[in-house]
Symmetry: C2
Subunit: 336 residues, 2 copies
DNA sequence: GAGTCAATTGTGAGCGCTAACAACATGGCG
DNA sequence: CGCCATGTTGTTAGCGCTCACAATTGACTC
């Protein structure tokens, strides 16, 4: 890192040192063929000696590519979105992309458009959307960002690609497990119905029950939080209509378990409970929670795969589905 | 948005439309004084009509500023880091900055240097570090990124600024609460001692006990996970030396509660438990957890404040401390 | 030995913007 | 009325890079 002058070395400096033209250095950097071995080595040596790093701004200016992917996310502090982001980030960095984020505090049309504009200002090469509200896709369809868009949790449409966990299949796994244990009255504590996942899991629950020839009339809706699970749990503890509950996520299940514990409803003795997500803590609930595992990081990686495909192929993004898995713990058993 | 040609409008196009020079348009965009009201209005109209957006790459190339803050983070799926990131993102976007992230899968010197290089390639204007390992700062001191660095959870040193929650004070609040309830044997289930917070909380616990004239000999170390809390809880359930435990974070407390429940140790009847963090779920543990609340988002915002100060003032970053707060729930009571 | 081709290297222009400076009004003052 | 201060606008250069094309070399063919 011999830094003679004050400023950072540029292509020209490297070229001079290696005794070639700036263009040849550019070729070496960009792995062009048609550079002789000797020249390449000399240039690489010069690069190392000067500690040269390519200036991204200059490159972006001429290539019109920023090597940056924008990730539009809400609920980033939640287990699912956070891990999806991790998957995206990993795949992106491995592919030589930068990851820029915009977090939505409130999910509204205006906030989404604002974030998209933010990304366009940065001229991102693509946008990954981790905003699990149905509304999002509508708002997104409205703008035409001019770059590939991949939405998590949706199978997308003509303009937007998507990667999702097969929610319906997950719900089916949960319900079938309960049915196999002998349950006949299986309720569902659903997530908000303006969330894609909330709807999908409820539909999966309903479909699986119908397949088993059972009623799908025991549906309550929460807001994903432990608090709402608790409130609903207190109510349900009094009614006791179902012998088993399929809960939309692990946090609501936690609140539900807490309420049942307080009310003297034993789990799984009186009521079996299945969650969804398999957060790291779920195995340490009281009792340890049977739940449906989703591989969020894989989901994120798949998003980036789709994205890279879309960048290559004129913004046409495909779709992909990740399979969930049932994790059986101690919150489920045969009914009394 | 009348887009005549295929390409995006540039400064020159706006200038032509407004009947001024490109430089005058630049002045309007950058809020320079010395532009007459009439001209400014005409230019603004032209900008609106053409849907002009400034090209970030071109601007960066000449200003040598990218308007981007790099956030270097590990454990991004955890409650604390994720919320800190949210705070940083909010403050950054409000200040007109982009936020680029690099997540560390493993915390090693090499991984950190790699991420820093990644950011330098992007020529970020500053780096926020959310990596709670002591090791990090050492690695960071090694490189000289040439831009302000703000580290979360540390008060920094000559080259690195910092924003932190007053961990010692938090531990003190927890311990004092237990002491006031009459506990005399107060143990600590600490986090890993290569984490800044792990050490700080243990020190706070120890200091508060000494102030109260009590012994600080009951120390066990976990790894922050619910699993380690569970394992240690099973061991502790057999020993029963302490009447109260101050646990390094809420997740370990969850595992501990689970183990105590299994072993028939009542909380708070037999042992009182205090956690740290106050995650949204902590109020729904069995029993609801008394814990120390940290405002992570505020922490993130403070980081950005320091950062902006540093960018102004030749990379000199200050320090700031956020106060924690004790949240009393049902996992603590007077000893039997 | 002239002609052809591929491989390698160099030259010039320009991406869109800002900084520095130049040029031109306008007006107050001696 | 000329002079300078002030406010406003225009001109020029160049940030560091890639692209398109030109130039050079050497090897191979007929």
């Amino acid at each position: 890192m011999t830094n003679t002058s004050g400023r950072l070395p540029r292509l020209e400096d490297v070229a001079e040192r290696a005794g070639v033209s700036h263009q040849t250095v550019s070729r070496v950097i960009n792995d062009h063929p048609n550079v002789s071995k000797g020249t390449r080595e000399r240039v690489e040596a010069a690069i190392a000696e000067l500690g040269y790093r390519r200036n991204t701004a200059a490159r972006s200016l001429v290539t019109r590519r920023s090597q940056t992917i924008g990730v539009l996310a809400s609920e980033l502090a939640q287990y699912g979105p956070a891990n999806t982001l991790l998957g995206v980030e990993q795949a992106a960095r491995d592919a030589g992309y930068f990851v820029s984020i915009a977090a939505l505090r409130t999910v509204s049309r205006e906030a989404i458009l604002d974030a998209v504009r933010h990304f366009l200002d940065q001229s991102v090469d693509g946008i990954v959307v981790i905003v699990p509200h149905s509304e999002t896709l509508l708002a997104l369809a409205e703008v035409n960002p001019g770059v590939p868009v991949v939405a998590v949790g949706s199978l997308g449409n003509a303009t937007v690609g998507g990667a999702m966990v097969d929610q319906k299949r997950g719900a089916e796994l949960a319900v079938r497990h309960l049915v196999e244990q002998g349950h006949r009255r299986i309720g569902h504590l659903a997530g908000p119905q303006d969330w894609i996942d909330g709807v999908a899991r409820a539909e999966g629950w309903s479909a699986a029950l119908r397949v088993a020839g059972l009623e799908d009339d025991l549906l309550v809706v929460g807001d994903w939080s432990a608090g709402s699970g608790y409130d609903i749990g207190r109510k349900l503890a009094g009614e006791r209509t179902a012998t088993a509950l399929f809960v939309g996520n692990d946090q609501m299940a936690l609140g539900l378990l807490r309420a049942f514990n307080e009310a003297g409803v034993r789990v799984p003795g009186d009521v079996s409970v299945v969650g969804f997500d398999d957060q790291p803590e779920s195995g340490y609930f009281t009792p340890p929670l049977t739940t449906v595992r989703q591989d969020f990081e894989e989901l994120g990686r798949r998003c980036m795969d789709l994205m890279l495909g879309g960048i290559e192929d004129g913004n046409n993004v495909g779709t992909t589905v990740v399979e969930p898995e049932l994790v059986i713990r101690r919150s489920t058993s045969a009914p009394a």
